[in-house]
Symmetry: C2
Subunit: 444 residues, 2 copies
């Protein structure tokens, strides 16, 4: 058994948190590769070290004095080193950083030092070798992540190291210039290491015990999701649930490495397992009590434009012309539910971006529909569950719950072999609808 | 009050039926314009006069002796004339027909004689002027119905005739050459006359008391539909319900003339009114007991192809490329329900026409989806009802009924402001599903 363990910023914000992390790693010898983030907030008004680094470098770039700002950053690390009782100092590291800031090494380099330094401390604390991500995570000349080169560089390095610390968030071009992933990028590093090392599990340690079945701001104390498939997760996240970034899931997904979301502050909690649909079925069958649905997510502010035209189906290319117009406006539509002689276009208000009237004029002049109907302020809610649609009565439960809650259904979309049913409701009914669905499937 | 009354072939198959028709027309002085079909079947093993005419003309065209065949046709008319006690004969008419058959006047001309002769008898029987449709219903040089010219020709003629008989099914080119509508075309003639004469109602008399809420082969003694909007009717007919042909509805619809389907054998029955949505609302509010739904129709043998591709929504033009492939295969898709990262294409097996494997190969090579899922033998069922979707609980009732009947739902499609909900079920569940929906909405 081999595991990659990635720790988020809040898990590494202080010496106290570092100790929890150390206990977690030492308690399981299979936790061999450690991907740390930079120190996060110690309390709600604190500043993340990464943000401190960006601010500090901004001064450097403007040729202003940044020594006090850099000293503050160093203080964060020194506090951790001291708290852990380590016999090390970052003198030479900070000298190098100061010099590189003066040489305008770039904001990517600056930001990456948060993870880099935390990695050095982590390696010392655990007694693991430190592998600089700049040496093993490669970007190509266009600035895109070079998966193949990275995979081979990392594999070679990790084969020589049974245990290692690889800082998250950054890599480098072939010439060594540091480049970072988008923020939250340590999750990506963890996933890349998981793939390269062919581990059995990628543990992603954070400050929550996995994902919840619904937004806790809408549903009181929602249950935790124990097992979720990649596809389900993608659907929940698409609909607004705050989960891992897609880029962070991709490498683990293609290597079929399960991702386990864990809570550093509650290490006994098994958290959420993100797995392939095949593994999901196995795991779910082992769960003592499993709800029919995996989760509910939704998002507000969509507009539904319905075009009616008699004998539309005989007018070849009608839908393609709609899509052509949307393309002209650079709009990615959400859904295209169709009836007989009607087709509806569901678009986010964000994509419409104030151009609705313009778009309607285009529709009118280029498609010549008999009528156009517009409903604004629609929320979409996805009720997600692996193989849910194959289970009899799911739709009945869903729509009965909505009817009893007095929610009007403005749109339904469920493709064949889907994992979910998407309903459109008025924005105003958004919370009520999610609460009703949750009650019907989870609390009933 | 002005009405056009059109009578189907079974309503005019014999002198006995003619008498019923005469009583109907004479009982209401507003029934001013009469559009007769050709004599239909008198009993289940009988032959329609139109079919006799086609067969007779086929002989003529092959330079064979057709006198016996023509004599049989004449016998049908003579029987009616005799039964009605009319003092007239068709000697000169049949002489002309015989001559024109020999001159190979065309099968359209031949077929049209069924309505032409019946119109002459009807005019004599009622004492109404006879207007030959060849003089007032015009086709353009390409063989398309010329609505504008017809409208003005007919209007002028009808203004001079308070009452008239206009035979159905045919018209003529400018040069007088007869051309027929597609079969069942007397319905079209009725609708054209209704529009030109600006009548208040177009009564379409047939052998059933209007439309039924469901197929009587599936649901036992389904209730009659009293009022249906054009749109609802279109949806029901699209889904397989046997109603008026779209072309027959169009002229009345654009003139906003209600169409009343009536039963010649049960003239007291009010039948079904086909009206604009606005009129439908008025009429429905006057009905003593009105069901939430207007009707249920469905049809079998569809295939659902679901394409799954991670992050599909970020791949601009994905759906357009699907439609492009369908275009290459000359396929009109039925629906395009979409989920997150998935889009399903619903096509009739008839449109696929044995090329499914080929199409899947195209999808695979041109779209590179992560996976393709195919479900064959799907039936689509539309539950239709004006403003049904705005009524709370409709979806709940529908899906609960299907769940209780043990029907698996394979697809749902409901656009915003739709009149209907379309569900996909297995072909095997087709009857069961329709019965369950009918029970839930009508019998409950």
């Amino acid at each position: 058994m081999k595991k990659v363990v990635k720790f988020g910023g809040s898990s590494l914000a202080s010496a106290e948190q570092f100790k929890k992390v150390g206990d977690i790693i030492r308690s399981d010898a299979s936790r061999r590769y450690v991907v740390p983030s930079a120190p996060g907030k110690r309390h709600s008004k604190d500043t993340k070290v990464t943000d401190m680094l960006y601010a500090c470098y901004a001064l450097a770039e403007a040729d202003k004095d940044f020594s006090a700002a850099l000293q503050k950053i160093r203080a964060r690390y020194d506090e951790i080193i001291k708290g852990l009782g380590l016999k090390m100092n970052l003198d030479s590291e900070f000298k190098t950083i100061e010099k590189n800031f003066k040489d305008k090494a770039g904001s990517d380099y600056a930001a990456s030092r948060g993870e880099y330094l935390n990695g050095i401390i982590m390696a010392e604390y655990l007694g693991f070798p430190f592998i600089d991500a700049a040496e093993v995570i490669r970007f190509d000349a266009k600035g895109n992540f070079d998966a193949d080169t990275t995979d081979s560089l990392l594999k070679t390095r990790l084969e020589k190291n049974e245990y290692a610390v690889v800082p998250g968030f950054y890599g480098a071009y072939k010439n060594g210039t540091v480049k970072t992933f988008s923020r939250g990028g340590s999750d990506i590093t963890g996933s890349i290491v998981a793939k390269a090392a062919r581990v059995d599990v990628y543990e992603n340690w954070t400050d929550v015990s996995g994902f919840l079945m619904a937004d806790p701001r809408i549903v009181k104390n929602p249950k935790q999701i124990r097992t979720v498939s990649y596809k389900e997760l993608r659907e929940l996240s698409y609909m607004g649930a705050s989960v891992l970034h897609e880029d962070a899931i991709y490498p683990a997904r293609i290597a079929d490495v399960p991702i386990n979301i864990r809570n550093t502050n509650d290490p006994e909690d098994p958290g959420t397992m993100i797995v392939s649909p095949e593994r999901a079925e196995q795991l779910i069958s082992g769960e003592s009590s499993r709800d029919i649905i995996t989760g509910i997510a939704g998002s507000k502010d969509f507009t539904v434009v319905t075009l009616y035209k008699n004998m539309m189906s005989q007018e070849r290319g009608f839908v393609r012309r709609i899509l052509g117009i949307l393309d002209d406006y650079d709009i990615n539509f959400e859904h295209l539910p169709s009836g007989i002689d009607t087709v509806s276009v569901v678009m986010s208000n964000k994509q419409i971006n104030g151009r609705l009237d313009e778009i309607l004029v285009e529709f009118q002049s280029r498609l010549r529909p008999d009528s156009i109907d517009v409903i604004e302020n629609i929320a979409q809610i996805a009720t997600v569950g692996h193989k849910m649609s194959a289970r009899r009565g799911t739709a009945a439960t869903l729509f009965t719950a909505l009817a009893n809650a007095g929610v009007n259904i403005r749109m339904i979309d469920q493709g064949s072999s889907e994992l979910n049913i998407i309903v459109g409701v008025d924005n105003n009914d958004f919370n009520k609808a999610i609460q009703a669905i949750y009650r019907a499937f989870v609390e009933a």
